[in-house]
Structures are given as C-alpha cells and as structure tokens.
C-alpha cells in the first residue's frame, strides 16, 4: 500500500480525519505569559492536563489520556537526560520539541499501520525576562508554531482557537491581577466549549473559577523562584 503514492496520501488524509474526529470532544488548554511567570490552565474530570516537565518547562495537553501520558513521559525522560548530561540551563523548549516531542509525534502520525498519538498541546518555557518566554503550539502531526503574543490556546477548532487567542491577547494588560487573568482564561475556556461561534460574540465573565463537575487545573512557571524547579500549582482564592 505504501509503495503507491496516491494510496499513501489517501491513508494520511484518512488518518487526519480520524484524529480530528477522535479529538473533537477534547476541551481546550491555555497558557499565558505574564510578568510573574507563565500561567497554564486545563479543565478536566479527574485526569490532569497540565504537567511539569523540567525546571523551567511545562506542558498543557488535550487528547487521549494514555497518549498524553506517553508524550509526557517522553518529554520528561528527554529533559532529564539532557539536564544530567549537560546542565539544567541547556534544557530548553526548542531543544525538547525539535529533538524529542515533535519527531515522536511525527513518527507516530506517519506510521499508518499503527494507531496514532491523539494529542495536541502547548509547551511553555519561562525565561528570566518575559520577552524571552517560549510558548509553542504543538499539533498531533508533530508540527509546531512558536507564538509571540504571550498567549497560547490549544483547541480542536483552528478558527475558534485563533479567535480565542486574539481575544485573550487584546484583553490582557500587565496591570491585571493574577485573579483577573485567570478569570479571563476561564471565560475563554467556557466560551470555547459552549459550542457556538466565538468571533463576534460577547464573552461572559464569571467571578467564580469553579466549573460544575470539573476541576480547573492551574499552574505557574514562576519567573522568580527560590528553587530550581519553577513549576507550582496555582491556588487562587475563590470568589463567593
């Protein structure tokens, strides 16, 4: 089958369709670069979506939990091996993506006789200065986009993802408190999963960060940290 180019292309196209279909009900994950660090958010029902990878690295992923776990383990192993062989300073998001995560995803996507990895994600790296933070949007086929606006949204609809990124980017100023930033992230999440069109409609803000029946998972890669590990769960006071 693979020795016939047309059938190979068809198989790849079918594979894309299959993956998109499998991911259609996955809920979005978000990351925002702020003066105090990079905030990551995911909403789950028991399964985590936001993970620490290394001292200054974290990922937020959507998709099949087993596949998320496989990619997570790959990333953690590669990061620690690199950090031990060289130095923790040398472990960067770009290196991790280019040499470990993206080749693994691309390889899995193109192995048409094996089940693909059903994962999309954001990889975040906190730097000493906010301008040097790295937010990377990684697709299931291993392609990666480095985002420069300080906001990353991973969602199964590319159009809504772009609109959500635009809305968040426009609405976030450095003067906002952490609570206000998270409120906006939660509002965008609600809007994305509500199913309606995103662009051109109002986004409702809720003072409460709770989402019924689900767990809002928040973490920060803190820019200033006393320890080498900068990743910390973010716990905000809940509004009444």
């Amino acid at each position: 089958m693979t020795d016939e180019p047309y059938r190979w292309l068809e198989a790849i196209a079918n594979r894309r369709e299959y993956i998109r279909d499998q991911l259609k009900d996955a809920t979005p994950v978000l990351a925002v670069s702020r003066p105090e660090g990079v905030i990551l958010m995911g909403v789950g029902t028991g399964q985590s979506k936001v993970f620490e990878v290394y001292d200054r690295l974290a990922l937020a992923a959507l998709g099949n939990p087993v596949d998320i776990e496989r990619v997570r383990q790959t990333a953690i192993e590669a990061a620690h091996l690199d950090g031990f062989t060289r130095d923790p300073e040398d472990v960067t998001a770009r290196r991790l993506l280019n040499f470990s995560i993206c080749p693994a995803l691309k390889g899995s996507f193109e192995q048409i006789f094996a089940a693909p990895l059903l994962v999309e994600m954001i990889v975040a790296e906190v730097a000493l200065g906010q301008a040097n933070d790295v937010l990377a949007r990684v697709s299931y086929d291993g392609s990666v986009r480095y985002l420069t606006g300080g906001v990353a949204v991973a969602h199964t609809s590319a159009t809504d993802e772009a609109s959500a990124t635009e809305w968040l980017t426009a609405g976030l100023s450095p003067a906002l408190s952490q609570q206000e930033v998270v409120e906006r992230m939660v509002a965008v999440w609600r809007k994305l999963v509500s199913g309606g069109p995103f662009a051109g409609t109002a986004i409702e803000m809720h003072p409460s960060l709770d989402i019924a029946g689900k767990t809002v998972e928040l973490a920060i890669l803190a820019r200033e940290s006393r320890t080498q590990a900068t990743y910390k769960p973010l716990i905000l006071e809940k509004a009444e």
Binding site: S48, F51, E52, Y54, I76, E77, H80, T227, A229
Partner: protein
C-alpha cells in the same frame, strides 16, 4: 582473620573512623566539617566553606550543603568530586521520579539511593582517595517529620536521634552537641535564632582544633552555610541574616 572485610579496610588505608580524621590509617582527605541537629523549628544543617588537599587550602568558598529537592539536603564530607557527582545524580533521580510519578519519592527510597551510590563507590573508598561520608536530612511524607541520617563510607545508614556530624572537625562539634544534649540547654528546644548562633559557634570551635575546617569570621561577615529543613521545605540563611543574628546574640 584474612577474610574479614572490615579488617581489610585499615590495611588499604580506607576509612574506618570517619572521613578526614588524622592518623596513619586515614586517607589524605581533609575536606570538610558538616553537621546537623534538631532544633525547635526543624533540622539545621551546617557546613564550613573550606576544601583542602593535604595541608593546602584548596578553596574557601565551597558549598557543601546541597539541596537535592525541596525536602532533602545532603551535607558532603570527603572527596568533593565524588560527593558532588553523587548529589547531582540524586538531584536528577529525585526530580525525575517526582515529575514522572506525580509524587515525591519516599524518604526510604531516597536513603537507599544514596546508600547504593556509596556502595558503588567502594573501589574509590578502598583506594583511599574517593571516600565520601555524607549526612542526609529529609522529611518523611507520612509523618511530616524531618530526620537526620549519617552513613559509613560503605553505604550503611543510621538515623541520628539528635545530631550528626561528618568530616575532620566533626569530633569537636559532636562533643559539644553531646554535652548540650546531656546537660542543656538542649538544641532541640532552641528557636531558630539561637540555633543559628549555636551552629556558627560550633564551627568556630571545630576550626580551633582542626586546620581543615574553615570556621567563621564574624569580623569579615563570613559565616557558615546554614539551611533549615522542616515540613515546609528548606530555608537558607544568608550571610547578612547570620551576621544580624550574631550581633543580636552578643547583646
């Protein structure tokens, strides 16, 4: 007894009485003085800054109290090259486990990991140039209590009820700590300010009797490396903080 392993060690000039002790059977390591004791706020782990090679002062800015993770400290005594590599291995191992398993490694596993590294270092220990006798301070996740452990160079671990010391100047430190434990004031009931001053005085005492111990120099605002460990994590005391506490302690 030719087959007795412990009898073999002194013949090969390996460590029997602690790293860096003076004497004909000791290796030529005069690396350090580190110690740890319980105080009211947790465990205070202290060390000087000196590393020596024979009678040569190699460095007076050596960090010997190393943070392995947010709740584990290793105080290194012995061959710095081996000890620092052990610390790096443990740091990576503990953090890898925590990140991949989404929970910290148990205290027992951490202790065993260090024990295994020491045992693997047996050739260096036997040859007399790579011996390491570290102290380990960690927090048990279930009881949330901090504990001090000391090791022999072959990897046997022992929990210290109140204090432990290692390195060439540790005999003086342990003598004073034993006196205080027996006759008071008990270090275990001391607040952190008094404990910090006690640690610096202990290092001063050790330096008086051991040329390999760097000691402290309050006039130059040169104090010990001090880290407090408890269930909240690790707190380091800067030189400025120690200088202030030292001044307050003299009033």
């Amino acid at each position: 007894m030719n087959g007795d392993f412990l009898a073999l060690l002194p013949r090969r000039e390996a460590v029997t009485a602690g790293v860096g002790t003076h004497g004909s059977s000791a290796p030529r390591l005069e690396a350090t003085t580190v110690f740890a004791f319980h105080c009211a706020d947790g465990i205070l782990v202290a060390g000087d800054h000196r590393a020596t090679a024979g009678n040569v002062v190699f460095s007076d800015t050596t960090e010997k109290i190393l943070e392995l993770d947010s709740h584990s400290l290793m105080a290194i005594a012995g061959s710095p090259s081996v000890a620092l590599e052990m610390a790096r291995t443990l740091q990576t191992s503990f953090e890898f486990y925590r990140r991949s398993q989404l929970r910290p490694m148990s205290l027992a596993a951490k202790l065993r990991a260090l024990s295994r590294l020491l045992r693997e270092n047996l050739p260096g220990t036997l040859q007399g140039f790579g011996a390491v006798a570290p102290l380990f301070a960690g927090v048990d996740a279930s009881t949330r209590k901090p504990a001090i452990y000391f090791y022999d160079p072959l990897g046997a671990q022992f929990e210290a009820a109140a204090y432990a010391g290692s390195g060439s100047g540790s005999a003086s430190v342990k003598s004073v700590l034993h006196y205080l434990e027996t006759w008071g004031p008990h270090p275990a009931t001391m607040g952190i300010s008094d404990a910090v001053n006690l640690a610096n005085r202990l290092l001063m005492t050790a330096a008086e009797f051991d040329s390999a111990t760097g000691g402290i120099d309050p006039g130059q605002r040169n104090f010990a490396t001090l880290k407090l460990l408890n269930s909240d994590g690790i707190r380091s005391f800067s030189q400025a903080e120690q200088a202030q506490l030292w001044q307050e302690g003299r009033r």
